[in-house]
Symmetry: D2
Subunit: 255 residues, 4 copies
Amino acid sequence: MIKVGVVGAAGKMGSEVCKAVVADSGTELAAAVDPFSPGALVHGVVVESDLKALSGAGVEVAVDFTHPNAVFENALHCLEAGIHVVIGTTGLGEDEIGTIEKAAADSDANAFIAPNFAIGAVLMMQFAKEAARHFERAEIIELHHDQKADAPSGTAIRTAELMEAERGEWPERPDSVESINAVRGGLVGGVRIHSVRLPGLVAHQEVVLGTDGQTLTIRHDSTDRSSFMPGVILAIKEVAQRPGLTVGLESLLGF
Amino acid sequence: MIKVGVVGAAGKMGSEVCKAVVADSGTELAAAVDPFSPGALVHGVVVESDLKALSGAGVEVAVDFTHPNAVFENALHCLEAGIHVVIGTTGLGEDEIGTIEKAAADSDANAFIAPNFAIGAVLMMQFAKEAARHFERAEIIELHHDQKADAPSGTAIRTAELMEAERGEWPERPDSVESINAVRGGLVGGVRIHSVRLPGLVAHQEVVLGTDGQTLTIRHDSTDRSSFMPGVILAIKEVAQRPGLTVGLESLLGF
Amino acid sequence: MIKVGVVGAAGKMGSEVCKAVVADSGTELAAAVDPFSPGALVHGVVVESDLKALSGAGVEVAVDFTHPNAVFENALHCLEAGIHVVIGTTGLGEDEIGTIEKAAADSDANAFIAPNFAIGAVLMMQFAKEAARHFERAEIIELHHDQKADAPSGTAIRTAELMEAERGEWPERPDSVESINAVRGGLVGGVRIHSVRLPGLVAHQEVVLGTDGQTLTIRHDSTDRSSFMPGVILAIKEVAQRPGLTVGLESLLGF
Amino acid sequence: MIKVGVVGAAGKMGSEVCKAVVADSGTELAAAVDPFSPGALVHGVVVESDLKALSGAGVEVAVDFTHPNAVFENALHCLEAGIHVVIGTTGLGEDEIGTIEKAAADSDANAFIAPNFAIGAVLMMQFAKEAARHFERAEIIELHHDQKADAPSGTAIRTAELMEAERGEWPERPDSVESINAVRGGLVGGVRIHSVRLPGLVAHQEVVLGTDGQTLTIRHDSTDRSSFMPGVILAIKEVAQRPGLTVGLESLLGF
């Protein structure tokens, strides 16, 4: 049983992580930290306001889903205290990631960072990358609810970049002339991206690859925040075996 | 058995029409006309070069899949000869259509024109129109092989126009800010259109409508030229009962 | 502003209805009734335990999402009190529905019952019915989370029945021989139904119709309980104009 | 430029292979053999009736798309003559494959056999296999035109077997009770398979994998016989580097 501490335990993602840790037979919720909700009860554990509670409870792995302005200090604190840290909070700068990398190298504890913990999304990106070599053109359609602030999604951009990195340049192909501006979508790494925004959607992406006489479609649908939990649990179980800093869930999946 | 004459009988669409007319138990291929292939044998019928062959064979309904520069004269010839005419050739101007309308009104014979004879495409447009009133936003994704000259497809434009005509203005909704130009697609009648072009695709369109907690998707896939034949046969059977000029397959489907 | 009372206001569906009534500019939450949570506050309204609160608050339309064993008495109470009633609770027997019909006929107040309030699901069924006449064969794929007790879904059965009622018998077509038992699905009204059950799915149905060279697909995806609210709000607004008993959301949508 | 000979050159697949060989910049059509059409002209090459024409033309790689009762002798002939052979004809028994394996081991020439040359189908199977470890349940929906003789498709069975081989047993999950027989499909290796048969379809397969809150879908669509050509060309280019017998396109794709 791995002793886990959740930082940001009272937030939406944090409380979901607490639930997942309690439910998994290989992990145990040893501590919950959240400066905004001290004293609250999360899955049978009293929320503490200070990170010191982690060491006090014998935590081996800390999971951080807090805020861009808190995660950096939290991570350094854990590594110095000899606690492995799994970071789901986004928004860390390159310099900060470099500092965390050094801290992890100097410590017996390790760090893991990933922008997306949905195993299906990671597989979609990897499969799209592998398939890119075998097809002549690909396009990405990503579909999200209309409250989403930005277009395209970060996952769509990352997918297009991975495909180009694997493939090099795409071959010249004929293309339609636009009679209405922008219908052919936006271009990233030789791949057209189309962003659909509709109420009723959640978070979906479809990568369509084509060559003569056939298409291959790889689609990921997220319908619930729980979709990120298997990835988080996997990271909790793997971080101890990965010295230093590891980036991206794909590296834990053997890709 | 309706006696049918096919004009442009040696062309790709024309020969497909001949085949469909022969196969249907309610129609009979009485004459085949094509100035480019006189003497050829099409489904047991010798191709003639002159339209006069239609009257000679007792043709009741002529079907025209020829060229934009031939169809107008062909249609007038048929109507004057008392032969109903079903027109699948596109590219007629508004003036020409007006002239055909008058000719049909003055004749015992009737005319029928449609830009798209795939019954599924017509149903898709009608259903999208009907559904538009009940949803808060819709987007169209049309997908074609990369040899297609234009984007978006005429069917996509027509679908968006029909939806707006039925609905009036769409309500204000939040939208994502584009970090990459054009990913949100092109706008027609308040509906975003996304055109995908890939080798391996044939001709497909998906209309996605969304409102809180649900989406409705109406999709048409054409995989073969034969998809247009049921619409052509329906028009052949119906044109005699529709005095004057009738436009659009939807009018034969009870919409 | 229509004055609405919600019965079963503290339940999952009931509290969602309260929220929707408050949010709509044409409706007002005048009373909330739930014998299990008297005194609770639901969207600013104190929950009462007794139906008498409806009349006291001047409720014009009551919405019932309670239990099979409570809805019948609730409905009769409302109709006798001159309050229109919208019933979303399922499980009423034919006799009970007959009694409600008579009570509605004898009252100035009307009743409305529907098994499914998702407007998209109703449209899917109607469109499938309309399309059935124009295609040679159809199959239904319905996909739900694996906690769902039964297969196929009631909506799938209803869709197949509606298609057959509209079309009469489907034409004879060739079929594949099963080398593995049951892969061709179950048969309802000449339509094959395939039930997919997977964790991660919510509630989805796809009707695929085929004829030579083309297919038409009509798909409904529910991702949230909120998908039923537009249908409930529509029923609230329409019930006063529909004397007696009205069954099925489709009757309010002009089908 | 690899000198290629096509056996069965006048058949549907064979003539498509000739076309592909001519079109590719790395291959050259040196000979065409077909006992049923000697003297015919295929892409500028005169069809010969005898396999001896291969050696006479200096063929390095022969491609066989003939008949189950001809392919075995053809393959042995080629290997004895020192010509690499790519076999697309299906129906070889295990004993015959064993004999070909020995012949290839004893020869400087190599043999390659695959049941499916569509690169997209191979990728779909591989990705489904890789993804199986990360999801709790999977189902396969395969969709074909209604002229197809059997259900399910061989590709669907192979996919389910590959997934089980990779994963071992799938975990216990709840399931729906069937109120209509067979709606839950047929079972292969712990995976439910659903076979859809409709006019208008060509050849499609969808593997849907689910775990809490997410699904991953991998879909392959074949729309034309040309979809098999990139796989054939790849095999032509690779067979010389693969001593002995190689089975399955996946082995050339680095899986």
